[in-house]
């Protein structure tokens, strides 16, 4: 059987159900879908590399902005307080709860930031039609492994829930960081939509002649 498949480079195995296909590069805007489990296998987008890099740069700016500026402010009976994103991460100060601070910081700030930086590192030479950087494969693999742990959008919804919870206790105001963070969440979703993982892996393939 295997001798009919000498050219393994032109085959693709569905990562979800293991069905084997010949690669047919779909036109831009179309996508190749697995027949039986309907997983999207290939979905190239026009000028995807540059768009992803631009969106990644804006994510970096917004992350630093939303760390620096106050996130939410609260006023009640003469007292007021404002909290930044870092305050929220370091709210767990009580003994063993301290263990939770670092994971929370990682989930909402460090991992989203690390992912976009890795993507810029991976895609920059590809966009310029140069040879990928030496560690590009490791970098993209790491970025893909971190994907489920990037939880900025969940944190944003958490803010909404927290607001309603204290709405009758005090007056809540949004700081600039809140709006920055919401923009960031939208950008991350748009960016994910641009990513065709198969195309990126294909462009990083060491066997590909540059």
């Amino acid at each position: 059987m295997a001798d009919t498949f000498d050219d393994l480079e032109n085959l693709i195995a569905c990562p979800h159900c293991d069905a084997l296909y010949h690669v047919v590069s779909p036109k831009v805007g179309e996508r190749a879908v697995c027949h039986r489990c309907h997983a999207v296998l290939i979905a190239p987008k026009r000028r995807a590399g540059m768009s992803i890099i631009m969106l990644a740069l804006s994510v970096i700016v917004l992350v630093f902005g939303s760390i620096w500026f106050p996130f939410l402010t609260i006023h009640t009976s003469g007292f007021s307080n404002s909290a930044t994103l870092l305050d929220a991460a370091f709210a767990f100060t009580d003994g063993p709860l301290l263990l939770l601070s670092l994971p929370v910081l990682a989930l909402i700030v460090v991992i989203p930031l690390a992912r976009v930086m890795l993507l810029i590192y991976v895609l920059w030479p590809v966009v310029l039609d140069r040879k990928p950087y030496q560690k590009a494969r490791e970098a993209f693999l790491l970025s893909e492994k971190l994907r489920p742990w990037s939880m900025a959008e969940i944190f944003a919804l958490g803010c909404a829930v927290a607001l309603v919870k204290v709405a009758d206790l005090a007056l809540i105001g949004f700081g600039p960081a809140f709006y920055m963070f919401c923009t960031l969440v939208v950008i991350i979703v748009v960016q994910d939509n641009y990513m065709c993982r198969w195309s990126i892996w294909a462009s990083l393939d060491p066997e590909r002649d540059v």
Binding site: L20, L107, I154, F155, W201
Partner: protein, 228 residues
């Protein structure tokens, strides 16, 4: 396409090949590391199910203290109160915020419980016959992977509230011990879902179907308009 009813297909394993689950590149079955992306290759991970059950067990264990201990302690001028996940939601209903109470109950009670059950069902059904089709089980698995992360929302709410509501003597909110065990439960359950090799869902089709459908060679994936 042959056997569309049963959805049998030529798989990489049957063709004597192994597909990379990260980058979908195909290699001879002996190969252990993907030459394109560097991920480790395994036609079917034999330890997949034991890892699923190991993470699952730890996740369930941490879920109990997460519900028994207080998630938040609220101190105002007159009183101090501690509330558990369910207790907090009941308070919200009393205050009239039924919508938010529903969000909390769904994210912190319904989703984790449903997730435990779904992962257990998927892991058990990988080894025996079920009435549920492979396609539906694949959907279930993707749903579990997608929705599971959202359970972290309760931990983030506690973080935001504790950082924000620090108003000297007027009121303050502090996290309770349940926040740690809840976060650990969510993380371990996510690891459990990630350890599951979804190709196990589909293998039974080929195993049952083998004599009936001769392999016809690899076909091409379906082309569709991304905007349809």
């Amino acid at each position: 396409m042959s056997g569309t009813g049963q959805l049998a297909a030529l798989t990489a394993r049957e063709a004597g090949l192994v597909g990379c689950r990260r980058c979908t590149r195909v290699w001879p079955i002996e190969r252990t590391e993907c030459g394109r992306c560097g991920a480790s290759l395994e036609s079917r991970d034999p330890k997949s199910l034991s890892r699923v059950w190991a993470w699952w067990t730890v996740g369930v264990m941490f879920y109990f203290p997460a519900n028994l201990y207080p998630m938040l302690s609220t101190r105002t001028l007159l009183s101090t109160s501690e509330s558990t996940i369910v207790g907090g939601a009941i308070d919200l209903i009393h205050h009239g915020s039924i919508g938010i109470a529903v969000v909390i109950l769904v994210a912190s009670v319904l989703i984790p419980m449903a997730k435990f059950l779904c992962i257990a069902f998927l892991a058990l059904s990988a080894r025996r016959n079920t009435d549920m089709s492979a396609g539906s089980r694949q959907h279930l698995y993707e749903l579990v992977e997608y929705v599971g992360r959202w359970s972290m929302i309760d931990v983030f709410v506690v973080a935001i509230l504790s950082a924000l509501v620090q108003l000297n003597v007027a009121a303050s909110i502090n996290p309770g011990p349940a926040s740690l065990s809840f976060a650990l439960s969510v993380i371990f359950t996510m690891l459990s879902a990630q350890a599951f090799d979804s190709r196990l869902i589909w293998d039974r089709i080929e195993d049952a179907d083998k004599p009936a459908t001769p392999s016809t060679g690899a076909s091409s994936p379906r082309q569709e308009d991304a905007y349809s």
